[in-house]
């Protein structure tokens, strides 16, 4: 049972279910008690994560001393209750309910994607009538209804259990999916009549007990009994939801939730669920590529490794080499990558950080995801969980809606949140200051008397019993100020915790495995002088001070804050080797590109944002020439004559990592050492002259933005946004921006074309630009602080359609 069922008080009551006596907490639902007693009661509308509604009546049971049959899903146990779940009367009632449900049911079983795992089939087989008595024609309703970009609806199959609409209401808190019309004419639709767009839509196909909601990606691809299952962990973001990969004939057909109450609570988001078809696109890299003039031509793995060895060797001896990446690799591979840098190349120039993130772990007060459930106040800044950690956000939405958790969002623009939140407009550079002021106010006990909004926030903090801070580890000053604030609060007996949302799926794993310039595996200070950070490496490469770069699972050309610098560096560095799954902006500039295996094609571990290391299994085989990153690193190491330094085997690498970590544990105390950071601090966003066309640029995240897999996936393509910039209505009127028109934003590093949007979430003088879009890289306009300025003008012509087919297969 989920945590928010009416608090099952500790008092136990005795019940007898089908002859077996047991004692359960008072207030337990009969259906749950029956589960504990080992009998199962059929259910359609009831779902353990949602409030009971008692719509379908399939769960009727007989309760002694109650004349009529009762629904098990909405009746709570009382002392001395005697329940029969399989008596004659119950069987008759179920039979009748099923006959009603099947009255107008099309019985499409042979062509229905649910067939084989359908509750209507299963319960009809167990309890239902064998024959239909209906002689009139069945009622027909629309079939093959396009409900949204991910879902197909068959109205005839719907049994109106309302699990889907309740999911959208209670779990996602979006309230878009509704039942339209009444009685047997009821239909499922959206409240605004538009498409059903949600980051969580795929979950409705799983909870729909029949085949009414099915997923477009899996439509008619396989039957459930064809599928081979592999337990995996989603690596698309740092939450680390557990899921299962179902494959057939060595090809991924679908993904399915694998409930882990402490992480995903049984849900996954659509990015995690649907990003796998890029593996079968022509844009997937299947052969190593080598630069011949302006082009990349296919070559053999051995040639690629030999050239790498030839170029990296001298560069390493001269100490002019750098390694970037790790945040998208498994823990084992991140360990292999740092071993490659430190032992084979002999350098500490290794960094996983290619976004603005500086730290992936809280130095102290580390929290768990479940801490959100009963938090009294969640303080979010920097991170934007609806786009960056959707399943964490789902937990947060529920906490806010159900447990009166207060959400306070501090940031430069108004967030779009489906639940109530307090928004504190604050420029990023000033957040550290705010934290310090708050710490002082709390420390001096001035929370009651003061006024102004600092005192107001401080008062809320002082009233909150449990405080969880969520940030993205981007600004070292505000992170240490936050630590000070939390320390003060902890001193006053508040329970406090911190969650750091990772910029890449395995950012925390890469940090722990030692992919930072000053720390080895397990946060132990590395031997020798600290190396260069990503920013320093790129600077050095741009200035001609590095001879070679090795990049694995990172796309700095698109994601590094100072895009102009990143591009200059990657173009100027004499030798660039990249390991990637698709030809990203970074890989396109490389001298050697190794094709790498995806998460489904290898095994290993990933560490989520709480620091929980989870194993994932291999679902399918990679194409012939495609190796895992560990195998590529080992191959290059062997070509350089260091075969013994890096093992390609996940088991051996993990053993090495664990050994290094336990050795480090003794030297590292409770307070984790921090990774080395660049000197540049986020500048305060300055309000610009209101008569000018120059705007401050703030990049905004989107679940489906990014230049790697997600940009090449046909499954997520319909959900992908077009690059846009949002300006305040006041600014729009001033400079004459019309929503929908094309704008050109010109900044220091070039210009990009985007669609104009107008909205109050953008403060005056600020343009919110969609980040990480390959078609219009926002980082062209930014500097190392992650912000920038640009002039807005109308676009000259229609934007050219950028083709994704950039590599001839």
């Amino acid at each position: 049972m989920s945590a928010d069922r009416p608090a099952a008080s500790r008092r136990m009551v005795n019940v007898v279910i089908d002859g077996s006596a047991l004692s359960v907490p008072e207030g337990t639902l009969v259906v749950e008690a029956a589960k504990l007693a080992g009998t199962s009661v059929p259910v359609y509308c009831y779902h353990p994560k949602m409030d009971p509604v008692g719509l379908c009546r399939i769960c009727l049971v007989e309760i002694e001393k109650t004349p009529k049959l009762q629904i098990a899903c909405a009746t709570r146990v009382t002392e001395g209750m005697v329940v029969h779940t399989s008596s004659e009367r119950v069987a008759q009632a179920r039979n009748g309910v099923l006959e009603f449900l099947l009255l107008n049911h099309p019985l499409d079983c042979p062509i229905c994607d649910k067939g084989g795992e359908c509750d209507l089939q299963d319960f009809t087989m167990s309890y239902g009538p064998g024959l239909s008595r209906l002689t009139e024609p069945k009622l027909h309703k629309p079939k093959r209804v396009d409900l949204g970009p991910t879902i197909v609806l068959d109205e005839e199959r719907c049994i109106l259990c309302r699990r889907c609409t309740r999911f959208d209401d209670e779990i996602a808190q979006e309230r878009n999916l509704v039942v339209i019309d009444r009685g047997h004419r009821s239909l499922i639709g959206t409240s605004d009549g538009g498409p059903y767009r949600s980051y969580f839509s795929g979950n409705t196909t799983e909870i729909c007990p029949v085949g009414a909601l099915t997923s477009k990606a899996y439509r008619f691809r396989a039957r459930p009994w064809d599928l081979t299952h592999a337990d995996s962990v989603c690596a698309q973001c740092s939450v680390g939801c557990n899921f299962r990969i179902d494959s057939r004939f060595g090809r991924i057909m679908r993904t399915f939730t694998r409930e882990n109450l402490e992480i995903d609570d049984g849900w996954i988001c659509d990015r995690g669920r649907y990003t796998f078809n890029y593996l079968y696109e022509p844009t997937r890299l299947r052969r190593p590529l080598m630069r011949r003039g302006d082009d990349l031509a296919e070559c053999s793995l051995d040639d690629a490794a030999a050239l790498c060895a030839e170029k990296l060797g001298p560069a390493a001896r001269a100490g002019r080499v750098g390694v970037i990446g790790g945040g998208r690799l498994s823990d084992e591979e991140a360990f292999a990558l740092q071993a490659f840098a430190r032992q084979v190349l002999g350098t500490n120039n290794i960094d996983y950080r290619v976004h603005l993130q500086k730290f992936a772990s809280p130095a102290r007060f580390g929290a768990r995801l479940i801490d959100i459930d009963d938090a009294s106040l969640v303080l979010m800044f920097g991170a934007y969980t609806p786009e960056q950690a959707p399943i964490l956000d789902l937990r947060l939405r529920r906490a806010v809606a159900r447990h009166h958790t207060q959400l306070m969002y501090i940031g430069p623009y108004r967030p779009h949140l489906p639940v109530e939140a307090q928004y504190v407009e604050y420029t990023p550079g000033a957040i550290a200051d705010l934290m310090m002021q708050l710490a002082d106010t709390v420390h001096q006990g001035r929370t009651e008397s003061g006024d102004g909004f600092v005192a107001d926030i401080a008062r809320r903090l002082a009233q909150a019993e449990k405080i969880i801070a969520v940030h993205n580890g981007r600004d070292p000053a505000s992170v240490s100020a936050l630590d000070r604030l939390l320390e003060t609060l902890a001193g006053y007996n508040h329970r406090v915790g911190v969650l750091v949302v990772g910029s890449q799926g395995n950012a925390r794993g890469a940090e722990a495995a030692g992919c930072v310039p000053n720390l080895g595996p397990g946060y132990a200070p590395c031997s020798g002088e600290a190396g260069m950070t990503t920013g320093e490496m790129l600077k050095a490469a741009a200035d001609g001070a590095l001879d070679a770069l090795f990049i694995a699972g990172a796309n700095p050309a698109l994601t590094f804050a100072d895009g102009a610098l990143a591009r200059r560096a990657l173009e100027n560095v004499p030798f660039l080797a990249v390991a990637e799954q698709v030809l990203t902006e970074t890989a396109a500039l490389a001298d050697i590109v190794f094709p790498t295996a995806s998460f489904a094609e290898k095994r290993g571990h990933v560490t989520n944002l709480e620091g929980r290391r989870q194993a994932f299994g291999q679902a399918v085989e990679p194409p012939v020439d495609v190796l895992s990153d560990a195998e590529i690193i080992a191959l290059v190491a062997r070509a350089m004559g260091h075969a013994e330094s890096v093992s390609p085997q996940p088991a051996a690498l993990l053993a090495g990592l664990v050994r290094a970590e336990s050795a480090a544990e003794r030297s590292v105390g409770d307070l984790l050492p921090r990774a080395k950071v660049d000197a540049v601090q986020p500048a305060a966003v300055e309000k610009v002259d209101a008569t000018h066309r120059t705007f401050t640029i703030i990049p905004v995240p989107h679940l489906y933005s990014g230049g790697g897999a997600v940009a090449h996936d046909p499954g997520t393509a319909p959900m992908r946004p077009r690059p846009y910039a949002i300006v305040n209505p006041e600014d729009a009127a001033r400079v004459g921006v019309v929503p929908g028109e094309r704008l050109t934003l010109s900044g220091s590093g070039g210009s990009i074309d985007v669609e104009a949007r107008v909205g109050p979430q953008a403060p005056v003088g600020v343009a919110l630009v969609l980040a990480d879009m390959p078609e219009a890289p926002a980082n062209k306009l930014l500097d190392a602080s992650g912000f920038g300025t640009a002039t807005i003008s109308k676009a000259a012509s229609v934007p050219e359609q950028r083709s994704l087919e950039r590599v001839s297969a």
Binding site: P110, I111, K143, R144, R223, W225
Partner: protein, 170 residues
Amino acid sequence: MLQAVGGIIAGMATTLKYLFKKKSTIDYPREPYPHPERFRGVHELRRYDDGMERCIGCELCAVACPANCITVIGAENDPQHPTAPGERYGYRYEIDMLRCIFCGYCEEACPTDAIVLTPRFDIADYTRDRLIFGKDKLLVDDPFTQHLANTESAFKTEPGVAPPPSGGAP
């Protein structure tokens, strides 16, 4: 002595009797072997009147098959140019004839009477590959056998429709 002669005569009589009787062997392959009506030989996939394929790619034949020799991959019909009535059709259909035990379970499982066993049995060939029959070999296009498969609509085939008497097109 007399007994021996009697035996010879009786034996010769039998020989003579069969000498003038109709032969029980046939001149195969020049002469076709007459099959019992319900003989279970090579499969065929049938169509409806209007030329639509009956197979909906449901894979029920494949699960019913004890020899595990059927592979089906379904796909969605193009609503403008459907291959089969409804939303789904059998995009790929293969039977490994070398593994098939001709039990007829597939025929029984099929909800649309698409797959049927015919009396045809002569499928010897030189390679294993060629004995994996795909839709190209299984699908009937022969208008002569076609009428035997015709019924009004899906799921309502009259019981007892017999397989075509002679082997259809391969």
